[in-house]
């Protein structure tokens, strides 16, 4: 427990009445039984609503709060004479290991919290999206092209588990727009582990991103956010209904497709084409997401029903022919003899509904939830290699049923044990359209994926030493084959002084591959469960001025990583009534070994005198090893530098900037083969070349207007302010002798509005 004597005490005067509320950081739940200590005043504890009250002389005090299950928090407060002061503190639960980085909205924190959610929202180039802003942290790569993945330490996106309130979701980003699937205003914090996850996280081999939204009571009345920009609009709301009932909800819808089509209409009309009933094929890319939560609290118990859904699409719309003779172009009707609707190019969607019960007391808490849902991932473009997550030339439909129970026991002061059980069943169907011309040609494979996994972890503080051993056992059933794995993990923190802390972690992880990668006749049936052994060690330092530094070395050895390659094969398509085989680009799945190692460093200035920011440098490698040798991971990033700086200006104006300098991402180069009249591409050694060095500056400026009932924020987020040519697709000149940088995202100013009411 930390205790800091008063910095300055004044002579006794009129008493200050202090009304406090202590909530748990992240969940927003009241912290019951937390001890509040102020020198010269008898300590008090919080009640079942997390509230406390104190009377004390005016002056400056160090207020220390400690919950049995939470990290101590000391805050310096100054109270004037005769004031009645309402304060709110947020305590963070004991962290599991040295890797955890929790981003939250709160006043103070005594953990290794690197960036608050408000800071993340102001990261330029992220358009106010805190999850997207994770890409500005050490060890996190910017994904290429349109991949909506979080890429950590060079691992493929599927190796990072994406969660919303502990419930796994297949993707966190709308893949074309790059916005996260959770409304930014709903996010209370983002729990991010770049590695070394605690035992409560299973079926994941690299990293965890857990976007957490509020379960606590809302403020009286109806409150919420509204936002709009060029791409989309959205709103969120929270209402306290009384008697412990709270409702929260949010939704977002994209209108960029409509704007583009309107532009297309204007263009065609200006050319007179519309009058001639000409209708061009159009591309639509709708996306939307929604969240709803109903909460009922009664004493230490909280019941909730949460639902979340998201949709991404890419669809070609064609209505050019007048087959019915009515003088108007006919609407598009899918060919009934086609194996699928080929105009529905991409569709990724998921829905989750979770029923949850939480019981929370100082000595014991428990949580049980049941989650049901459905996923569909569809990408009918075969073998392009652009979309490395999800199917190639096919569709995966997955049901989702999961039960989780966990408990926490306070064994003694400083000794907490948590344990639980995960059960999951996923009936899954994979359809491959690669060689199909009729429904009968579709390769369809079904599997019932099962996973059962008990786990236990204990956290014990002994003076300056904090240890946290854990263990998880995982039973996977894939394609009728069973596999059982033991996953021991351990984490240690040692406080060298009030300023410096040493950290270390080592542990094993397993993860089942996606169904399309092992399904018979679609993937590789020999595929096994992916495994990773991760180790890391680091040092953290912090100063009262708000300056923090940390450095962390990591090493990971991976086995049976299931990677998707795009290869050329000579095949005889079944939709040709001939005996001729042709060359086709097709996906191929391989199990490879992996190795990642590196050093992550960060210097951060927490919000102080109107400034905040951080600078991070990461050096490391992510390698893959197969029978042909060692080659770089597709996301191998030997060097990365990120600088984020923000300044609060007068008149509620905020200015921030982000500079990123990063090694170019690997790609497979091509040579030009001269065939007498032109050049044809010849792919060379896998991932043996790199894009040009990535350099980009993003700038954001915002202005907030505070009214009686609402706060209005207008922002201008300028992506790639220097218009740097950072290609995101490999492109060559005509003879493949030089890389072209034509395909880059140019300077992209985005004007947006957020209203908080």
């Amino acid at each position: 427990m930390l205790w800091i004597p008063p910095v300055h005490a004044e002579a006794p005067a009129a008493s200050v009445e202090l009304d406090g509320l202590v909530l748990e950081h992240g969940s927003g739940r009241p912290v019951v039984g937390a001890t509040v200590t102020i020198e010269g005043v008898d300590p008090v504890t919080t009640d079942e609503d997390g509230r406390f009250a104190l009377a004390l002389p005016p002056g400056t005090y160090a207020v220390t709060l400690e919950g049995a299950d939470h990290m101590a928090l000391t805050v310096e407060e100054t109270f004037g004479a005769g004031e009645r002061v309402e304060v709110e503190y947020r305590l963070r639960r004991f962290a599991w290991d040295e890797e955890v980085i929790v981003y939250g909205e709160h006043r103070e924190e005594v953990s290794r919290q690197v960036v608050t959610i408000e800071e993340l929202r102001r990261v330029p180039g992220s358009f106010g999206d805190p999850i997207r802003a994770l890409q500005s942290l050490p060890g996190v790569a910017r994904p290429s092209s349109v991949e909506g993945d979080i890429v950590v330490r060079g691992a493929e996106g599927l190796n990072t588990g994406t969660f919303v309130d502990d419930v796994r979701v297949p993707f966190l980003f709308h893949f074309l727009a790059g916005r996260s699937v959770v409304s930014p205003s709903m996010i209370e914090d983002v729990e991010f582990y770049p590695g070394g996850m605690p035992s409560r996280f299973g079926d994941v081999t690299q990293a965890v991103v857990n976007a957490r939204t509020g379960f606590g009571p809302a403020e009286k009345g109806l409150h919420g956010h509204v936002h709009a920009d060029l791409l989309e609009g959205g709103a969120s709301m929270a209402a306290e209904l009384g008697n412990g009932w709270t409702v929260r909800g949010a939704g977002r819808v994209a209108w960029i497709s409509g704007l583009i089509q309107a532009g297309q209409f204007v263009y065609l009309a200006s050319r007179g084409a519309w009058e001639r009933d000409y209708r061009p094929a159009r591309i639509k890319f709708p996306y939307n997401d929604w969240q709803l939560r109903i909460i009922k609290r009664a004493g230490p118990d909280t019941w909730s029903m949460s639902a979340i859904g998201a949709l991404d699409g890419l669809r070609a719309v064609e209505e050019r022919y007048d087959d019915d003779g009515d003088g108007r172009p006919d609407p598009y009707e899918p060919d009934p003899n086609a194996p699928t609707d080929f105009n529905d190019i991409i569709e990724n969607r998921f829905v989750r509904m979770t029923f949850r019960w939480d019981h929370d007391t100082p000595e014991f808490d428990a949580s049980t939830w049941v989650s049901v849902g459905n996923d569909r991932q569809r990408n009918i473009i075969p073998g392009l290699g652009v979309f490395f997550s999800g199917p190639d030339g096919g569709q995966i439909e997955t049901g989702w049923f999961r039960v989780r129970h966990e408990q926490r026991l306070q064994l003694s002061e400083g000794w907490v044990t948590r344990y639980g059980l995960d059960l999951r069943a996923q009936p899954s169907t994979v359809e491959s359209y690669i060689d199909a011309s009729t429904p009968g040609d579709v390769k369809s494979v079904s599997d019932l994926r099962l996973w059962a996994s008990p786990w236990v972890e204990t956290q014990h503080r002994m003076g300056d030493l904090w240890v946290a051993p854990g263990f998880r056992a995982s039973w996977h059933r894939l394609a009728g084959k069973d596999a059982v794995y033991a996953e021991p993990r351990a984490s240690v923190r040692y406080d060298l002084s009030d300023r410096w802390t040493l950290t270390a972690f080592s542990g094993l992880f397993t993860q089942a591959p996606p169904t399309d990668r092992y399904a018979d006749s679609v993937g590789v049936t020999a595929t096994r469960v992916m495994q990773a052994w991760q180790s890391s060690a680091g040092i953290e330092g912090r100063w009262p001025s708000g300056l923090e530094v940390n450095a962390n070395v990591y090493f990971s050895e991976m086995k049976d990583l299931n990677v998707k390659q795009v290869v050329w094969e000579v095949v005889r398509p079944s939709d040709y009534d001939s005996d001729v085989a042709y060359l086709q680009q097709r996906p191929r799945y391989e199990a490879v070994r992996g190795r990642a190692f590196g050093l992550e460093t960060q210097i951060r200035l927490r919000p102080n005198n109107g400034w905040f920011g951080w600078a991070g440098v990461t050096v490391g490698r992510a390698l893959r090893i197969d029978d042909d040798g060692t080659f770089p991971s597709r996301y191998d990033t030997p060097f990365s530098f990120v600088l984020v700086a923000a300044r609060d200006l007068p008149l509620d104006i905020g200015l921030s900037g982000r500079l990123r300098l990063t090694s170019g991402q690997p790609y497979t180069p091509q040579a030009g083969v001269f065939v007498g009249d032109y050049y044809e591409p010849l792919p060379l050694e896998r991932n043996s070349a790199r894009y040009p060095f990535f350099k980009q500056l993003d700038v954001r400026i915002d202005k907030t207007f505070t009214g009686r009932r609402a706060r209005w924020t207008v922002y201008l987020d300028v992506y790639n302010a220097l218009n740097s040519h950072n290609p995101f697709l490999v492109s060559y000149d005509y003879d493949f002798s030089e890389l072209r940088t034509d395909y880059y995202i140019p300077i992209l100013p985005a004007l947006g509005l957020q209203v908080e009411y």
């Binding site: 092209s145 349109v146 074309l176 727009a177 790059g178 960029i256 591309i283 890319f285 652009v386 290869v567 050329w568 094969e569 000579v570 005889r572 001939s578 005996d579 001729v580 085989a581 042709y582 060359l583 680009q585 040579a671 030009g672 083969v673 001269f674 065939v675 007498g676 009249d677 032109y678 050049y679 044809e680 591409p681 010849l682 792919p683 060379l684 995101f728 697709l729 060559y732 000149d733 005509y734 003879d735 493949f736 002798s737 034509d742 395909y743 995202i745 140019p746």
Partner: protein
């Protein structure tokens, strides 16, 4: 990102004639032409593979390979990407010219019975296989290829190789620094559709790609004009390759070396 959708529709300029017309310097190792004669051979008959390799560096090693040939079905392959999958590649040799003993594939089922349809019998017993020539030097690798057509039973008339006509490249004028000389390539009475020129240095007045200058039953002729750089002395090589559209005939070529003296 959204931009991908926009750029995905941009034209591919790799086939633009202008690019190739202005690219005629032997500034790196280049495989300027590859031929596999006779072009009308049936599978099972030998093919002679030759190539014209030129560049600033000495060729240390060659390797020649074919890709995608199967013994269980006809194959018709467009795309040198085939060679990126080593499982599909068949090494043919490491020196040129070489004779490729192609496999007998006459047992493969092919053709389409059109007896009752009124259409001519449709012969699809054709195989197209890419052959790749890699020329390795100490500095770089040059790549060139040709699509080899084979028929499993009988060759089509369009694919029958005709005898190579006589041809000679003549340089008219004095080869000295800064001079402009005329290049005349005379070919016997066989028609070639386009001609590609290559030089070590200088400027080609008619670009690196020309057409027929004289087209007569007695013989054909194409011409170009070479401007020798003011500061160039020594040996300056000039190469020209004649080709036909759709590969009706195997390419032919000539190379001359000019001694440029002040």
């Amino acid at each position: 990102m959204l931009l991908l959708l926009l750029v995905a529709c941009l034209p591919d300029d790799s086939f633009l004639l202008g690019n190739r017309a202005l690219d005629y310097h032997l500034d790196r190792t280049r495989v300027l032409a590859v031929r596999a004669t006779p072009i009308g051979a049936i599978a099972g008959e030998p093919r002679t593979i030759e190539a014209l390799v030129m560049g600033p560096h000495a060729v240390e090693r060659l390797d020649v390979s074919a890709c995608g040939l199967r013994d269980d079905s006809l194959t018709y392959i467009w795309g040198m990407e085939c060679f990126s999958n080593e499982e599909l590649v068949t090494p043919l040799g490491d020196a040129l010219p070489l004779v490729w003993e192609t496999p007998d594939l006459s047992a493969l089922p092919c053709g389409q019975d059109t007896a009752d349809t009124g259409f001519e019998p449709y012969n699809e017993c054709e195989i197209q296989i890419p052959v790749l020539v890699r020329a390795h030097t100490a500095e770089d690798i040059g790549y060139g290829g040709v699509y080899v057509h084979m028929w499993t039973r009988e060759a089509r008339s369009t694919g029958v190789e005709r005898p190579e006509p006589p041809h000679a490249l003549e340089v008219v004028g004095e080869a000295r620094p800064g001079a402009e000389v005329e290049l005349v390539w005379r070919i016997g009475p066989s028609r070639y559709d386009y001609f590609q020129w290559w030089i070590d240095a200088g400027t080609l007045r008619s670009t690196g790609r020309t057409g027929l200058y004289v087209d007569s039953p007695q013989g054909n002729e194409t011409r170009n004009r070479l401007v020798i750089p003011d500061d160039f002395t020594g040996t300056l090589r000039v190469a020209v390759v004649g080709s036909t559209l759709y590969g009706r005939r195997s390419p032919i070529w000539d190379v001359v070396e000019l001694e440029v003296r002040p």
